[in-house]
Amino acid sequence: MLDILKSFEIFLQDTGGGETYLQWLLQAWGWTLAVSFAAWIVAIIVGVTVGVLRTLPNRYIAFIGNTWTEIFRNIPLLVQIFIWYHVVPSLFLSLKDLPSFALVFVGLGLFTSARIAEQVKAGIESLSKGQLQASLALGLTRTQAYRFVLLPQAFRIIVPPLTSESMSIIKNSSVAYAVSISELTMFAMQAGEETAKNIQMFLATTILYAVSALAVNEISKLIERRMQFKTSRVGAK
């Protein structure tokens, strides 16, 4: 047991660049969280927009929303990241100078946006048709109906799937290593090779991934509790 604990002393060793492996690990964790958070913002903004578009009566707009969702949902994430990194900049040369951090959080964000759009659409459609009809009959515009009646109810319903999407984003952020972001997965592979202590490195990164995802879960639970109606549940058909 003592031997196992002692083997973790490797984290205090210098990497050869003037910092310890522990410092590097924490920096890598920071990159993972930064990529995940930025991607999450993109995913929520685009996802909600596309999700709402898909429920509009205009067939062409709904078609665009559906196409968006199917394209981003059905292409493997790693392939999408490579397309953003290698293919798109060779077509639009000005994108070549964009930092890979921007590419990867936009890529990951758009991938997740398709999944969130699906959930937002499902949330809105799960509401009784009467909700929209009554709002319009009361003289609200369609925008107001979505803003004050439909979306607040839909969001309550989709908090649980949104939580699991937000946890997935942290796990999916590991694809960033493929485009040279030194996040946790890259740290594990690189530091493992340098120190010949793969198990220790992967264990530490696993723990940090789990801690991050669990923290998201806890925050979501808090939001869920805050958003609950005090009275009976609303929204079921």
Binding site: G16, G17, G18, H86, S182, G192, E194, T195, A196
Partner: protein, 300 residues
């Protein structure tokens, strides 16, 4: 308590009894099977042809070694099981006995030697710089303020980091997720140079659409002895592996194997790696040794 002591003592004696005989050799003799760790794509050193077929310079050396071991053990038949390993799992698999010998592209360094053992060095790799022929870069100083690509999960990243600290050069690093990805960074212009093992650079350039577009320049940045990896604390097995390798080095057979894998067309595409053995490798053949990477110094 007394019973416990007796058990402990007998266990210790048992241990001694086993230690007297090589654990690995005994396993091979009893089962008639040896498990060889191989790589999917470690250049011409160890790679797959698909269908669970593995070939390469180190694989062939291992097969010859195992033939000798089979003869010495008096086995009629020795079945070789090939198990593909990665740079992440190769050490744990040797340590827990899943594989008995690893014939891939493992650098012999002090950190690893704490947990595993190495046969005599069969190849000394040189870390070099590959650039586009049109770039005008001729040495490491030319890389100041440039972007350098290398591959995640290699010791080259560490070499680069040390070089950066020592030379005071300023450069941006890009990490490819594998060698072909890192080469793509150079090819697509995202990086100005690709720093990696010479054999890997030569292999990637040979496979490029237009090999003349690239060239390997500058001094050797660092050298790494590559060796066949063995379980730790099994001196008898190490000797059984080392002896035939040393014999091949002496008879010149190893140089012939080198020519076969690095100078002649090799399967599956029948292209040539075109890399003559370097001076360090020739020196390792002339005086077989198991010096770790740290004992090699680069002449600059």
């Amino acid at each position: 308590m007394k019973v416990f002591a007796v058990i402990l003592v007998s266990l210790l004696m048992l241990n001694v009894a086993f230690a007297a005989e090589s654990k690995t050799l005994k396993k091979i003799k009893d089962s008639g099977v040896i498990t060889m760790g191989v790589r999917e794509s470690s250049g011409a050193l160890s790679y797959t042809l698909g269908n669970n077929k593995y070939v390469g310079y180190h694989v062939e050396i291992c097969e010859k070694v195992l033939a000798t071991i089979q003869k010495n053990l008096g086995l009629k038949k020795l079945e070789i099981k090939y198990v593909p390993v990665t740079s992440q799992n190769r050490m744990p698999l040797i340590q827990n006995g899943t594989i008995d010998i690893e014939c891939g592209s493992t650098t012999n360094n002090i950190a690893r030697a704490k947990d595993v053992s190495f046969a005599v060095t069969t190849f000394v790799e040189e870390i070099r710089i590959a650039v586009k022929a049109s770039s005008g870069i001729t040495d490491i100083a030319g890389l100041n303020k440039k972007t350098i690509a290398t591959t995640t999960g290699t010791t080259t990243v560490q070499t680069l980091r040390k070089n950066k600290k020592a030379t005071g050069l300023e450069f941006k690093e890009l990490y490819g997720k594998d060698h072909s990805d890192a080469f793509l960074l150079l090819e697509s212009g995202r990086a100005d140079a690709f720093i990696m093992d010479g054999t890997i650079l030569a292999g990637n350039i040979a496979r490029a659409k237009n090999p003349a577009d690239f060239k390997i320049v500058g001094d050797v940045l660092s050298v790494e002895p590559i060796a066949i990896m063995l379980p730790k604390d099994d001196a008898e097995f190490k000797k059984a592996v080392d002896e035939p390798i040393k014999a091949m080095m002496k008879s010149g057979e190893i140089a012939k194997l080198w020519d076969k894998w690095f100078l002649k067309p090799i399967p599956p595409t029948n292209t040539k790696v075109n890399m003559p053995a370097n001076e360090n490798t020739k020196a390792a053949w002339a005086t077989p040794n198991e010096k770790p990477m740290e004992e090699y110094t680069v002449k600059n």
